[in-house]
């Protein structure tokens, strides 16, 4: 039966229509084979257009639709939903990306962008003509979640999941839980120490019956899919190493951050005594004598803080702002001042970023007489030893770019956050990373705790720098998301799998060798040995396709016919 297609071309409120002439696109495709309806719309994803599509599908008995709009990463599910609600199989909807790959990519060339958009829509139409209705596979989901990392984010996520009645495996590679909370002193806005926070979390953890805590444990193996992952754990104990397999429906990654370690000589680090990092400073301050602050035999009467060490680098790779460190440094300097009121603090900053209510801490710091110097990228601080003290010289934006020199007994390098140095979890789960090398979410606003790997969520500072409150918010969000993957007991999987044509297949092993998931086995059929592909273990990667000498394997929705018809159209 001939397909009846409806085509929707989105203006995206100008994002597309400012560069692509969408009326021209519509005119160019409206007479294509099978197209019985072609429309332009201000916002394809908007409620009113969704209603129009629903009505159009029903009124015209459409058997397929094409939406030409933004990247399918954003709204594939939106339009699949529209199709389903209108009674059309969702795999009969095909998407054409004319925003990221036409209007925006070629905003310098409106004619070119329009011509490209026409071909992209035509290719999508070609595919839609051939698209078959498909039924997703249903799988049972494990009602359990693995939380990797027992810092503040992992702990909060685990407790939240347990309270939502999910079974939780809380996996920590260290022997103790708490992560970086051990190193934190006063945490704003509560004026409470990391240790106190941790003991409250430990109390909460004890009350939870659904959490299995596994310390000294590392995840070394991963197989399976959303709903049914099998993780292999390596657990070190007094009697040596053991391995353990666990089955979970979702994995919540909360592996945290490392503090940036300055290079030798970076602002005098490791070369000048009494040049230390912020975490070292906090550690020393916590244990320092309450009357006099002495370090390396020297009484400390003045402290200089150099901000943005390892962050916002002009020359280095870390271009990002580490977000938490301005407040953390100002807070640490206030803690110092509280213990030793006579010490003078000098802050060498690139502009203080105590955003939101944290501004009140900065105000307090100014009130107690701390001195702030904003250095210029062109004249960053130079740290040298001078007559038993340390000299810090920098160009000051706040005083007509004059060079300012401060003498201090101690220099604190306000180091930022860098991704966890252990890459194993990231590479095991194939988690994509952003430009900052932290794990990347699918979309900062639409799906902020999900990754492109279905069933795996990210929480806390492994996604990017955060303070404690922000880490907890992201941990609880990730817990809610992981919970929704496992709570229904059943999940839908995409039916995009490979299948072998038994009549042309002459079993040769090549496909089963290529398959990374052991989904292909030899069976007897039509009086010969042929390949058979297991639908539930096939993940649809297509690695078996090019190795078949008789071209007997096709991948659903990426068949020869579909691919070739698209190639033919795009070549026009």
């Amino acid at each position: 039966m001939e397909k009846k297609l409806g085509i929707y071309i989105c203006a995206c409120g100008g994002n597309i229509s400012d560069y692509v002439d969408i009326e021209k696109v519509k005119d160019a495709i409206k007479d294509e084979d099978c197209v019985i309806l072609a429309k332009t719309t201000m916002f394809a994803c908007g409620d009113s257009n969704q209603k129009d599509m629903d009505a159009d599908i029903k009124a015209n008995d459409l058997s397929g639709i094409v939406v030409a709009s933004c990247s399918p990463k954003l709204h594939l599910t939106t339009f699949r939903g529209v199709s389903e609600r209108a009674g059309l199989n969702k795999y009969n909807y095909v998407h054409a990306n004319i925003r990221e790959q036409a209007s925006w990519a070629h905003s310098d060339n409106k004619t070119g962008a329009t011509e490209k958009a026409i071909l992209l829509v035509k290719a999508a139409i070609a595919k839609a003509r051939l698209a078959e209705p498909l039924v997703p596979f249903k799988i049972k989901s494990q009602r359990s979640v693995a939380v990797i990392g027992a810092g503040v984010a992992g702990l909060k996520a685990a407790i939240a999941l347990s309270r939502m009645n999910d079974e939780v495996f809380l996996i920590e590679r260290e022997s103790k839980i708490g992560g970086k909370l051990h190193d934190l002193d006063t945490i704003s806005p509560e004026q409470i120490s990391g240790k106190e926070l941790l003991s409250r979390l430990e109390e909460d953890l004890k009350k939870e019956k659904n959490i299995i805590l596994l310390t000294n444990s590392e995840v070394v193996g991963n197989s399976g899919n959303i709903g049914d992952f099998t993780l292999t754990l390596k657990i070190s104990g007094s009697k040596g190493e053991t391995t353990k397999e666990i089955k979970v429906g979702s994995v919540l990654v909360a592996t945290g951050f490392n503090s940036y370690i300055p290079a030798d000589g970076e602002f005098g680090f490791n070369q000048i005594a009494n040049v230390i990092t912020l975490p070292q400073f906090r550690d020393i301050l916590r244990n320092a004598d309450s009357k006099k602050f002495v370090l390396n035999g020297k009484e400390i009467n003045s402290v200089a803080y150099i901000y943005c060490v390892g962050s916002r680098q002009v020359k280095g790779e870390n271009k990002y702002c580490s977000r938490y460190c301005c407040t953390a440094a100002v807070q640490a300097s206030l803690d110092l001042k509280k213990k030793y009121p006579d010490i003078q603090n000098y802050h060498f900053t690139k502009g203080v970023r105590t955003y939101g209510k944290q501004e009140l801490i900065y105000k307090e710091s100014n009130r107690v007489g701390d001195i702030y110097i904003q250095f210029l990228d062109k004249k960053p601080p130079i740290v040298t030893e001078l007559d038993g003290a340390i000299s810090i010289k920098a160009g000051d934006l706040l005083s007509e770019k004059k060079e300012i020199e401060a003498l201090a007994d101690l220099v604190v390098l306000v180091t930022g956050m860098v991704p966890d140095k252990d890459p194993s979890v990231g590479s095991l789960f194939k988690l994509p990373k952003g430009r900052d090398k932290f794990f990347n979410e699918i979309h900062m606003k639409l799906r902020p705790v999900e990754t492109v790997i279905d069933g795996i969520t990210i929480a806390g500072t492994c996604q990017g720098p955060k303070n404690v409150m922000e880490s907890v918010n992201s941990a609880l969000s990730a817990a809610a998301k992981s919970h929704s993957f496992v709570s229904k007991g059943e999940l839908e999987l995409e039916p995009i799998v490979a299948y072998a044509d038994k009549s042309s297949c002459n079993w040769c092993n090549a496909c089963s060798d290529a398959c990374p998931f052991n989904a292909i086995s030899k069976i007897e059929a039509e009086g010969k040995e042929v390949a058979s592909i297991n639908k539930s273990t096939c993940k649809g990667c297509g690695m078996c396709l090019p190795v078949c000498p008789t071209d007997s394997i096709e991948l659903i929705s990426f068949t020869n016919k579909e691919m070739e018809s698209m190639i033919d159209v795009l070549a026009q």
């Binding site: 925006w104 070119g112 090019p546």
Partner: protein, 131 residues
């Protein structure tokens, strides 16, 4: 269409290189509009006959944006994609096609600049060959 550009078909992967190419658009890192992308699940699932079809139908070049080590289907991806390219290169030679018209490079999900650089240098190479 602009004669001074080459027509290129890009095979890109849904999860890894598509996001990089989309981000190139988002950042308005321009590249010639004669570059078209077809998404596949994994770069090691591209059939040589599809590549040859593209040349037959008039594409000047084919670019495979491979997943590299980020591939969510396994470590063997890069190697397998390499084998496909090798096999296709041999077929191209037999057909009298210049093998350099098929290029492969690994792109991560944020490698937008790398993508645009690759496409620009590939375009230059293809245009040079034409002359």
């Amino acid at each position: 269409m602009d004669k001074r550009s080459a027509k290129i078909l890009v095979f890109s992967t849904e999860k890894i290189s598509d996001p990089a190419i989309d981000m190139a658009g988002l950042l308005k890192l321009h590249y010639p509009p004669q570059v078209f992308t077809i998404s596949v699940r994994c770069s090691s699932g591209i059939k040589p006959k599809w590549i040859l079809r593209a040349f037959e139908k008039g594409f000047d070049g084919v670019f495979i944006a491979a997943d590299g080590s980020d591939c969510s289907y396994g470590e063997s991806c890069t190697e397998k994609t390499g084998v496909i390219v090798e096999k296709t290169h041999i077929m191209m030679k037999e057909m009298g096609l210049e093998p350099s018209r098929l290029r492969m490079a690994a792109l991560c999900s944020v490698c937008s600049e790398a993508f645009v650089k690759q496409i620009k240098s590939f375009t230059e190479l293809l245009l040079k060959q034409e002359n």
